[in-house]
Amino acid sequence: MTQHGKYETKILVLDDERLIRLAVCARLKSAGYGSVSVGTVQEAVSILKVHHRSFSAIISDIMMGDMDGFVFRDIVRGIDESIPFFFMTALDPEEGSGFLKKILVDPMSYYLPKSAGTDVLMKRLQRVVGARRIQHFVENQVQEQKKSLALAAHVQRSMLSPRAQIGTRGFYVTWWRPHESVSGDLYEAISLPGGKMLFVLGDIQGHGTNAALVMMAVQAFLRQMVEANLRDARSITPEIVANGLHAFFRTNFAEVSYMTALICIHSPPSPDGAEPEEVSYITCGAPDLVVIDPVAQYIVPVNPDRRGGLPIGMIPDTEYSTADTVVFKLPRGMVCAAVTDGLLDISRDGEGSEKIPRDLLKRLGFEVLGDACALGSLVAAPYKFAKACVEFGYNKFNDDVTVMLFGARWCLDGVYEATTPLSPALVDAAARDMAAWCAARGWADELSGRLQLVLGEVLMNVYDHGFDDLQRSKDVVGVRLRRAGDNAELTVWDCGRPAPSMKVAAGVTSTAFEIVNKGMSDHGRGRLMVRQLCSGIQRQRFGALNETVFYIPWNNAEEGVQTA
């Protein structure tokens, strides 16, 4: 092996004739390229195996004593599938040996006649090596951009409100899905005095990083604006929020961006029932609010006059007024659904030419909401709705999509429902709260204790093993508890990594089962205890949401018969 100089661009030269190696390397040197020359394929392969990334191209003879140049190329392609490969040969294309065809089989292979002068050699080499350099540069940039996008996506998620909240008087649940890593959709849920909630669902023009940056600025402004006006809740109305956002857009993003938005203020019914539940909202170019009766499977008409305004920030002198705002007294048991128009763009194909029919969207929405209400929790409903769309073949999401359900807190008799932030400090409180609910309904202490243990262990397990450090901070876990036949049925929803399944071959002894069980428990705190306390565990996944159902025997031999 002969090495010529230390250069940024290095070429491997293989020829069994020393004269050729000498001449080619001298030409490369004169053009500013470094080179390593070898006389055998064996030498070339051993160098490439270790250092192929340090070469920008290979120049090789075809007819050599120890091996055919094409066989050498096959070996090289097993090491580096894209390194440019120049065949420098004295063979004449008109000889009829077909070597040109063999060269061109590989898209990164090129022909150089041995009679070619320095100029021809260098021009071809520079063009190909330059292209490869650009390709590497672009690949590196893409990698860097992916890293930046991953960070941006994390920052963006951390700016959003928690994805679900079951409050004492109201609830909301969301499903937020970026088209790419980051989204131009935003949702905000801000508590107002009197148990009211301000919900803002926005869709920044475009998607990707630019839309995401605007979105984060809008969120920061929105929170400041609400914070500044919290002393007088009357000063926070949908049209005032819209005007504030519009001024912010015109000041900061005039002619650059605009946003469609649905701005809603939800007032739960007063505790004494004197004041009914109410929603007031303004749509600024966004899909209208949908008020659904999940039991009667009916959409309540709330905006027959088609009130609303233009998108925020689009036209300079826009002013939103009470005439644009809808105020609606909600009958008991209604669910409000706010969506971005990305939902209507879900399609069977990437081009979006076969979009999901509105009738199907409505039917799936009714079915999912009906089931969720019958079982006493809407926490998983948006995820189940999305999965239902996918199962019907509508699996191409061509835009950012956000779905938000909200309404007054309603409780099904005998069903406990709660959400809790995923924080070790709050795990015990969440488990105690559920146990207190059980006690208040006369469930046996032993059963309540077991349920409390299971929930505490499961939440800690999700916290410890379901997330990496960046992701877990904002997740919220949903919990539902009810009696199902001979079991207490505890359902936990989280967005962590799915738990690994445990496989035990048929016919194994209980001891073998316990060994496997113990092995599994080493991967997560409390898993063994949870398995011992439960008569069964079922897992399902709805997109990013895990649904785990734990069955805890209602009747324990030692405890006698429980009462509901």
Partner: protein, 102 residues
């Protein structure tokens, strides 16, 4: 030094006299070996190997700018492929003559 080779090599290597001398020297050495190899191969009747040797002579001659030598090597490849002993011997004799002039 053969005039056409020197002119070609000077043009290719920017009148780097030392480099030109080195390359020309390597060319001369290789021709000595290769022409002898061609003679031996013809004597052994190994036409495939004779074709390969002629191919190598052609490549080396083109690299050194010796078109006359390259042209004879091209003809030798043809006669070797036709297993034409008489013509091949004549061409190798011409190669020997050209090699001695280097």
């Amino acid at each position: 030094m053969k005039e056409c080779c020197v002119a070609y090599l000077n043009e290719q290597f920017g009148n780097d006299a030392e480099l030109v001398k080195e390359i020309y020297g390597e060319y001369v050495s290789s021709m000595r070996v290769k022409v002898r190899e061609a003679e031996n191969t013809l004597a052994a009747g190994d036409w495939t190997q004779l074709d390969r040797v002629a191919h190598t002579i052609k490549g080396n001659a083109l690299t050194a700018g010796d078109n006359e030598m390259a042209q004879v090597a091209i003809e030798l490849r043809s006669t070797a492929q036709l297993h034409d002993h008489e013509q091949s011997a004549a061409l190798i004799s011409r190669l020997r003559g050209l090699e001695e002039l280097l």
